[in-house]
């Protein structure tokens, strides 16, 4: 048989029929959130029913207010209506949705994998571009628009043309304090935000095997920022250990039956990739964005580019050409999002914050209620609070500024999120993307610093 990639294998297991240039694929998991209202309106207008309530799962994340001390802070009627609308759609169509008070609530790309809903070999879609995250578990996962969401609601299928495949091999060892976030930003720095357009990226190599599952999620999450719609990592023993026993993961004997299929997913030797990129993991430094696109990024030790092209982004960010990014003062900091809101991210921040105090406001929104509870149990939350950070509830919060949380115009925010687009954190906001440890270090010093120069505590996380 011709050697096949992991995507080709998943594809052929899900192909219902072909109509020429595209195939109709069955969808295993369809995740919806408050923003899916356009699609529900669309099927309502057409008088169509939800085909598979058992394969549809909802969660409130984008609009959820996260400040428990003053619940509803920033939550206007519009925001509350968005959350209510999801609950209404869930009850009228009969699917499960996790509202703000549910223990299973969290950011869709954090909580669904945590619940064991995303499994290897599945096709997972959601009306959100960071659906690529779920590829870390060996699922073919991608974001779709509202028309496609409506299509999945009504048919549980999607028309797709096979993507071109890119193999991205990372060899070598990541250095001390170098995280999957730095690796992702390093790759974007090399290939650009359009570098993988039209491709699905399969990550491989020794540095990828060495990543734990949460780090793999960070990397797959940022794949969309390389222009690819989807990123995937073949399931290995780590994946299976991580999944076993999760609430919705199969129990024995189903588990054993599932395993056989999952182990056969890895790309065959000699499978065809349209492009191959090799990266040396040992060269990755702590990365910081300086501009208004994730590709406006550089090692923390570098200076803001003096090129004419960079002029507009520099002006928006209030930076001078050739200026060092290290030492740049910040006004506030944020740790959270589907990129870096997991327990290991909070632990990395705690390792920096232990015994220190923040100089600028640091908001921490855990990726899910479960992450929040685990941070409380392990004492991580206490470390964060003792350092003066605000340890809030779970939601997208400052990643996108839809829940009422905003970075004021002109203010500079060190952020563990994924997009530094103009105005993303609020009109006029200036975002610098970096890893959670780097954000914590910046919050402690009040300026952007190289976390490698700080002594850090050891914070144990049981994974």
């Amino acid at each position: 048989m011709t050697p096949r990639t992991i995507i080709e294998k998943i594809w052929s297991r899900h192909r219902i029929l072909s109509d020429g240039d595209r195939d109709l694929l069955f969808v295993d998991r369809h995740y919806v959130h408050e923003g899916s209202h356009h699609a529900f309106d669309k099927i309502a207008q057409m008088g169509r029913a939800l085909r598979r309530p058992d394969a549809t799962f909802g969660v409130a994340d984008h609009y959820v207010p996260v400040h428990q001390k003053s619940p509803g802070k920033g939550a206007n009627a519009d925001i509350l209506r968005m959350i209510e609308q999801l609950a209404q759609n869930a009850s009228s169509h009969g699917f499960l949705a996790f509202g703000p008070k549910d223990k299973r609530q969290g950011i869709v790309h954090v909580t669904m994998p945590e619940l064991g809903l995303t499994l290897p070999g599945m096709i997972v879609v959601c009306g959100d571009s960071h659906t690529a995250t779920h590829g870390a578990l060996g699922a073919f996962a991608f974001g779709i628009g509202a028309s496609e969401v409506a299509h999945v609601l009504a048919t549980q299928t999607l028309w797709q043309a096979p993507p071109a495949m890119m193999k991205l091999v990372v060899e070598g060892k990541l250095g001390r304090h170098i995280t999957a976030k730095d690796l992702a930003l390093h790759i974007i720095c090399m290939i650009g935000t359009g570098g993988a357009t039209g491709h699905t990226i399969e990550y491989a190599g020794s540095a990828i095997s060495a990543l734990d599952i949460e780090e793999r999620m960070t990397l797959c999450n940022m794949t969309i920022e390389m222009g690819a719609r989807s990123g995937i990592i073949a399931p290995d023993d780590k994946t299976l250990r991580w999944l076993e026993g999760r609430p919705y993961a199969p129990d024995r004997p189903d588990w054993d039956a599932a395993l056989a299929g999952w182990r056969a997913l890895a790309s065959d030797p000699g499978a065809h990739f349209h492009r191959e990129v090799v990266i040396d993991g040992s060269e990755v430094a702590p990365m910081v964005t300086w501009g208004t696109s994730p590709q406006d990024v550089m090692p923390v030790t570098d200076c803001v580019p003096a090129t004419a092209e960079a002029c507009e982004a520099r002006a928006y960010m209030g930076l001078m050409d050739g200026q060092r990014i290290e030492g740049l003062s910040i006004d506030q900091a944020f740790i959270g999002s589907c990129t870096n809101g997991r327990l290991s991210d909070l632990a990395a921040a705690a390792a920096v914050l232990a015994g220190r105090e923040v100089r600028v406001p640091l908001l921490i929104s855990p990726g899910s209620q479960k992450v929040r509870a685990q941070a409380e149990e392990t004492g991580i939350a206490d470390i964060l609070r003792s350092a003066g950070a605000i340890f809030a509830d779970s939601g997208c919060s400052l990643c996108v500024g839809m829940n009422g949380d905003r970075v004021p115009s002109g203010a500079r925010c060190a952020s563990s999120t994924n997009r530094n687009f103009r105005g993303r954190q609020g009109p006029g906001s200036r975002t610098h993307l970096m890893s959670p440890a780097m954000v914590a270090a910046a919050a402690v010093k009040g300026v952007i610093v190289d976390v490698r120069n700080l002594d850090t505590a050891t914070v144990e996380v049981v994974k």
Binding site: I16, G35, S129, G145, E148, T193, G194, M402
Partner: protein
């Protein structure tokens, strides 16, 4: 969906590359129902200065709502999957966007809504831009049957996947089309469900009461 066959009119040009969906429509406006219209939200923050007045130098501010075409740079529509990025363009009166490349999800969203993404080769794109810059007022034509853009005596070809083209030409709704295959979908679901019983329905590992 309004069918797209031949559309004629003027074009507006935006020189920037990598225009992301947060520029097309800031996230804070997306709770608005579609029926209320999205046209006024297009490039909301870029169009206005800090005080909220329209910046006269921003090309879209010279847009009368009658120009059906927008010429942009490369990697247009990158960023989030929000379909509202298509709604704003459509509701502002645009029928086609011309670029050297589009972000994947944006292209898909555009096609599903009848907004035509025209992708030209770099050389053709530059020739079109030069021709447009020379006579910005001149009307151009996009013919989907012939898959070409025409300006004066010049014409440039583009390609688009055949099924998408048929869908645009007829204005057919994709859900209805897919449901003509409902028997095959049902057969598949039965076979697939039997092979992976843990994945769906009552076979899911846990109940509603997960702690």
């Amino acid at each position: 969906m309004t069918p797209f066959t031949t559309v004629e009119g003027q074009a507006i040009r935006l020189i920037e590359n990598n225009i992301d969906t947060d520029q097309l429509i800031p996230a804070r406006f997306m709770s608005r129902p579609r029926k209320n219209g999205y046209g006024d939200l297009l490039f909301y923050d870029l169009r206005r200065d800090a005080g909220g007045t329209f910046r006269p130098d921003f090309p879209i501010n010279q847009h009368s709502g009658k120009e059906p075409f927008l010429i942009v740079g490369e990697n247009f529509g990158c960023g989030s999957s929000r379909e509202a990025a298509v709604y704003v363009l459509q509701d502002a009166g645009f029928r086609a966007i011309i670029a050297t490349s589009f972000a994947d999800i944006f292209r898909n969203n555009a096609l599903k809504n009848g907004l035509l993404p025209v992708e030209l080769s770099k050389t053709d794109y530059e020739a079109l831009c030069a021709a447009h810059d020379a006579y910005p007022e001149r009307s151009m034509q996009i013919k989907l049957h012939e898959q070409c853009v025409t300006l004066g005596t010049d014409s440039w070809a583009f390609t688009i996947a055949e099924t998408s083209r048929q869908m645009l030409l007829t204005g057919m709704d994709e859900i209805s089309y897919t449901l003509t295959h409902i028997d095959k979908i049902t057969d598949f679901e039965i076979r697939y469900g039997a092979a992976t019983p843990w994945g769906h329905g009552s076979g899911l590992g846990a109940s509603d009461s997960v702690g």
